[in-house]
């Protein structure tokens, strides 16, 4: 926490960072409508600097978009009495519901291991699993399972070479988000990297929200569950009865 605070103060002082991000997003809201089937967000920006471009390795850019982080229960199946049953379970402290990392080059080459751990950039480091390791001797397997399952579902991804950097000043990337998003504040972090080190960071937020009918139904189901339940029964009965009455009418007419 202290380290994070120190980092934020560092970023806030313009004198400390020689190169800074000026960011634009094609949209800072994603609306989940009834026919939502994924979204694409264009992240673009420029590097603001007072001094000439430093010598050495070129500037690299890493963009990390993270969905809301929540604790998770991970269960493992084992064969018992001939069938596969959930046996061991471990709680992973915090795992993002969605996580995408876009980079301007191969991840291992542009981000040093130390910086990765410090800023929790890679998928493995974005999952906080300290207590998972304490709960089970193979707690690591459980944290890895979270990464593997969500990667297979398209929720976690590392997209190397998808950020284009122009003359070490302009950068852009398009982040696609799948249809199975959950609501929340999606934190978008931009890292400017030189020699594997983070030289500047910038953070912004994309709001992913259900809207319209989706919003209404979801809120009703949580705030007035009884009314929601009665309403869904009523709608279902009317729809079912109406449709069969319609068919009877058609058949009699024919």
């Amino acid at each position: 926490m202290l380290r994070k605070l120190a980092l934020m103060i560092c970023c806030a002082l313009p004198a400390q960072a020689e190169e800074q991000v000026v960011l634009g997003l094609s949209q800072n809201r994603v609306a989940i409508t009834a026919n939502f089937d994924g979204s694409e967000i264009l992240v673009f920006g420029a590097v603001k600097r007072e001094d000439p471009i430093p010598e050495g390795d070129p500037l690299e850019v890493v963009i990390a978009v993270s969905g809301p982080k929540e604790p998770l229960t991970v269960r493992r199946k084992e064969r018992k009495y001939g069938i596969w049953v959930n046996t061991e379970s471990v709680t992973v402290d915090r795992a993002p519901s969605f996580y995408a990392v876009a980079t301007s080059g191969p991840f291992d080459q542009i981000v040093s291991e130390a910086e990765d751990i410090k800023h929790s950039i890679s998928i493995g480091n974005a999952i906080t699993s300290v207590s998972a390791r304490a709960q089970s001797a193979n707690g690591n397997d459980f944290a890895e399972a979270v990464a593997r399952i969500r990667t297979n579902n398209g929720l976690y991804s590392i997209r190397e070479n998808t950020v284009t950097v122009d003359q070490q000043t302009l950068f852009k990337a398009s982040i696609s988000m799948p249809a199975n998003l959950t609501e929340g504040d999606y934190i978008t972090r931009i890292f400017l990297m030189r020699d594997g080190k983070v030289i500047s960071t910038h953070e912004t937020q994309i709001d992913v929200r259900k809207v319209g009918l989706e919003r209404f139904l979801f809120n009703l189901s949580r705030q007035q569950p009884l009314i929601y339940g009665l309403l869904s029964l009523a709608i279902a009965i009317i729809a079912g009865w109406g449709a069969s009455a319609f068919f009877r009418y058609v058949r009699r007419g024919a």
């Binding site: 989940i32 026919n35 089937d37 998770l72 199946k77 069938i83 049953v85 959930n86 009665l230």
Partner: protein, 305 residues
């Protein structure tokens, strides 16, 4: 056309859902069953979370049984008295079932429970139906008359007898209540109406005349599944209205075609087909439990859904 289901929080193709509803509708129209026992596993297969599938299916069954029970009321083939006793048992059972469901969900064993219930019950019912309809076909070939049912069994020795005029029975309420409770539990756990258990139980155990069995069981099913829907909606927040409506529309259309096909086939052939289908679903679910899954780990929110 993709549609985002507000409660399940997954995006599914609307036509896939309509098609599934239609397919199960055809089968339920053909065989005169609710189809919940087929729909719920199919929803698992397309990636709807099991808790949502079970709760939503209960909601859909209410609707699809509603027009059926109206038709039976018109024909006066509902034994209201018997239905009410079954219902009292059913509501108790549904409450027990939801409590059990939530308890096992917290333990992470709910998927196992649901699947085991399916394997066991589909296996028993499918097997019995298969043997029975094979025998029926053999009998109809030999052209001997139907075997007369025994009218007196141990059930007639139980106390708290009640008269059921429509069914023409004078029996104890205990077995009726037990059947109700049992079906209620299954309805809450498996997301089915339970007709496939209740109908045989009413005919063979209680000795009810066949003509009032279907109407009476539908009457009980509507109220029990409505109650189950409300319990799931208020305790788990897992009833997805959009999913239910899509399945329903497909189901009603499918049922019309199913009923037409059904009239063209013989009763024994229909029953043997249904038995084979039930055994097929049972086999597939059983295999999933026996074969090592490709992913041994599964994720769940802390403290349930």
């Amino acid at each position: 056309m993709q549609i985002y289901l507000p409660i399940a929080e997954v995006s599914v193709n609307a036509f896939l859902l309509l098609g599934l509803g239609g397919l199960v509708g055809v089968l339920s129209g053909m065989f005169g069953v609710g189809g919940g026992f087929l729909m719920t596993p199919l929803l698992f297969f397309i990636g709807i979370p099991p808790a949502v599938a079970v709760a939503t299916e209960a909601n859909q069954i209410v609707a699809s049984s509603f027009s059926g029970v109206l038709a039976h009321f018109k024909r006066r083939t509902v034994d209201l008295r018997m239905g009410t006793v079954l219902l009292i048992g059913g509501l108790t059972g549904a409450a027990i079932g939801v409590v059990l469901f939530n308890y096992l969900k917290a333990l992470g064993q709910v998927d196992l429970l649901v699947k085991l219930c399916y394997v066991v019950f589909l296996g028993i019912i499918g097997g019995l139906m298969f043997i029975e309809s094979l025998n029926a076909i053999r009998r109809s070939k030999k052209n001997t008359g139907p075997i007369k049912r025994k009218n007196h069994n141990w059930i007639h020795g139980l106390p708290f007898k009640m008269r059921f005029r429509v069914s023409g029975l004078y029996i104890s309420v205990i077995p009726i209540l037990l059947v109700g409770v049992f079906v209620g539990i299954l309805s809450a756990i498996m997301g089915v109406g339970g007709g496939f258990i209740m109908v045989p139980a009413m005919i063979y155990l209680l000795g009810m005349p066949t003509k009032v069995v279907v109407g009476t069981s539908l009457f009980q099913i509507i109220f029990v599944t409505a109650f189950t829907t409300l319990l799931h909606a208020t305790t788990n927040f897992t009833v997805d209205m959009a999913l239910a409506v899509l399945l329903l529309v497909g189901g009603v259309i499918g049922a019309q075609f199913g009923a037409m096909i059904g009239t063209k086939l013989k009763a024994e052939q229909l029953r043997i087909l249904l038995a084979m289908m039930v055994l097929g679903v049972c086999f597939k679910l059983g295999l999933d439990l026996l074969i090592e899954p490709s992913e041994l780990f599964s994720l769940g929110a802390v403290g349930g859904h």
